[in-house]
């Protein structure tokens, strides 16, 4: 199969998921509202206190990870619920499905962060000292979240209690991202440090590459019976 048709089929899966999502807005609404309400809960319970960069970075990452967990399992669970996974298996190879779902999840997370992070900055009155480094840390974190989340979502969709297992399975795998992402974000929020924490950026990038590649190789065993 030519690479052009491979890409076009992968994009078709992405477009299908995006269209289905726009019709129901199930994941988008759930994730956005979840992120907003937990954001409000955090800023209200702080009650005007001014936490330092290390606290703020930790809050932001906990919010991001749990918001992603509210939405990521949908990508495969809805295929099982509507019993459309059989059709998808006939029309595309496992690698295409994995890449298409990964792209959709990445788009979903980025969209959610695009809404929640500015509100976080406004509500908690934070100014990123190094805005470029701040965006880099969050963006690479989203990459890692989407990579690990896609494969775990595929696993969870095949189990009995779909969804409720997702956080238990994904969180231990995501701990490296949470830890490094928090450190990188903290550096970008504190004045007087170097602009970009290159060590952390490298770790986030290599995590995303390792987990995406591992997922690509392992996905076939999850997807096919």
């Amino acid at each position: 199969m030519s690479s052009a048709s491979w890409i076009s089929r992968t994009l078709a899966i992405l477009a299908k998921d995006a269209r289905a999502e726009l019709r129901t807005r199930y994941a988008l609404n759930a994730v956005l509202l979840f992120a907003l309400s937990s954001l409000v809960a955090v800023s209200m319970s702080l009650a005007g206190a001014r936490p330092g960069p290390d606290m703020l970075a930790a809050f932001l990452w906990i919010l991001m990870v749990f918001a992603a967990m509210a939405g990521l399992p949908r990508s495969f669970v809805h295929e099982e619920e509507r019993q459309t996974s059989g059709w998808l298996k006939l029309s595309a190879s496992p690698a295409m499905v994995y890449c298409g779902k990964f792209a959709f999840n990445l788009l979903l997370i980025l969209l959610v962060e695009l809404v929640t992070v500015p509100i976080f900055l406004v509500l908690l009155n934070v100014t990123p000292v190094h805005p470029a480094a701040f965006c880099l840390a969050i963006g690479l974190g989203c990459l890692g979240l989407a990579a690990a989340g896609t494969l775990v979502a595929a696993i969870v969709a095949r189990t009995q209690n779909r969804g409720s297992l997702f956080a238990a399975l994904a969180l231990p795998l995501l701990l490296p991202v949470i830890v490094t992402g928090t450190i990188a974000t903290r550096e970008s929020l504190s004045p007087g440090t170097g602009a970009v924490a290159w060590g952390e950026v490298r770790v986030l990038l290599s995590y995303a590459v390792v987990v995406f590649t591992g997922g690509l190789l392992l996905f076939e065993f999850v997807w096919n019976d």
């Binding site: 690990a148 494969l151 775990v152 696993i155 095949r158 189990t159 009995q160 209690n161 297992l165 238990a168 399975l169 969180l171 231990p172 795998l173 701990l175 490296p176 830890v179 490094t180 450190i183 060590g199 770790v203 995590y207 390792v210 987990v211 591992g214 997922g215 392992l218 065993f221 999850v222 019976d225």
Partner: protein, 238 residues
């Protein structure tokens, strides 16, 4: 075959188990009765110099280190058998992987508990977020999730495949746990047994007891693993 003959065979067939039992008792007795208390340098403010000080807490090392070693070996064995599950779809490999993970979890929890008790008396609190404490905690979380996943899949072949995928994905985290978590905090942990130049830092008697304990615990793991696999196979008749 008469029953006396069978009993004789039974004794000789299981000679290594008796040896293991004897060895464990010897290690226990040697640790508490025979080994001299380790002296370690301590800063003496009165004379402004390093002075040797008795350090009886070293004894837990003879049991704690083998436990975390066995946990590591068990998770490695589980990963190898998980790869085997994906390659061949073997039911036996799945059973072996699950059993090894179970024992790894058990020994991991025991290593955490013994280390925690030691930390209470050495560092002053049960939990310190030391890099090794943190990484073994993450491992315990991961393998806890592994068993949650196994219990949520009713079909045997699907369960074998999906849990193998999760185990391999978890193994991909090892380099991150080894290289990243130590960046978070300075380690309080005692130096590894072999220092950077590969020089042993133990007395001869201590080394003998420690290495025997390590060997005996590894054999114990092998035995427990084999036993559990055989029990399940006998119960399910395959």
């Amino acid at each position: 075959m008469s029953s006396a003959q069978r009993d004789g065979n039974w004794f000789f067939r299981h000679w290594w188990k008796w040896l293991l039992f004897l060895g464990m008792i010897l290690v226990l007795a040697a640790t508490f009765l025979w080994l001299p208390v380790v002296q370690r340098p301590a800063w003496d403010a009165a004379t402004n110099s390093w002075k040797p000080e008795p350090w009886p807490l070293f004894r837990i090392m003879i049991f704690h280190v083998p436990m975390s070693w066995v946990a590591t070996i068990a998770f490695l064995v589980a990963t190898i058998h998980s790869i085997q599950v994906l390659r061949t779809g073997s039911r036996l490999a799945d059973l072996k992987a699950a059993t090894a993970s179970e024992l790894g979890l058990l020994f991991g929890i025991m290593a955490t508990v013994t280390g925690s008790i030691w930390a209470r008396y050495e560092w002053g609190s049960f939990w310190n977020w030391d890099p090794r404490e943190t990484s073994i905690l993450i491992l315990i979380l991961i393998y806890g999730a592994y068993f949650a996943l196994r219990s949520a899949i009713p079909t045997e072949t699907t369960r074998a495949r999906l849990s193998a995928v999760y185990a391999i994905l978890a193994f991909l985290m090892v380099p991150f746990l080894v290289f990243i978590v130590p960046r978070m905090v300075e380690s309080l942990h005692p130096a590894p047994i072999l220092d950077r130049r590969g020089k042993m830092q133990m007395d001869k008697e201590l080394l003998v007891v420690f290495l025997s304990s390590l060997t005996l615990f590894t054999i114990l793991f092998g035995w427990l693993w084999h036993l559990k696999v055989s029990i399940v196979r006998a119960r399910d008749r395959w």
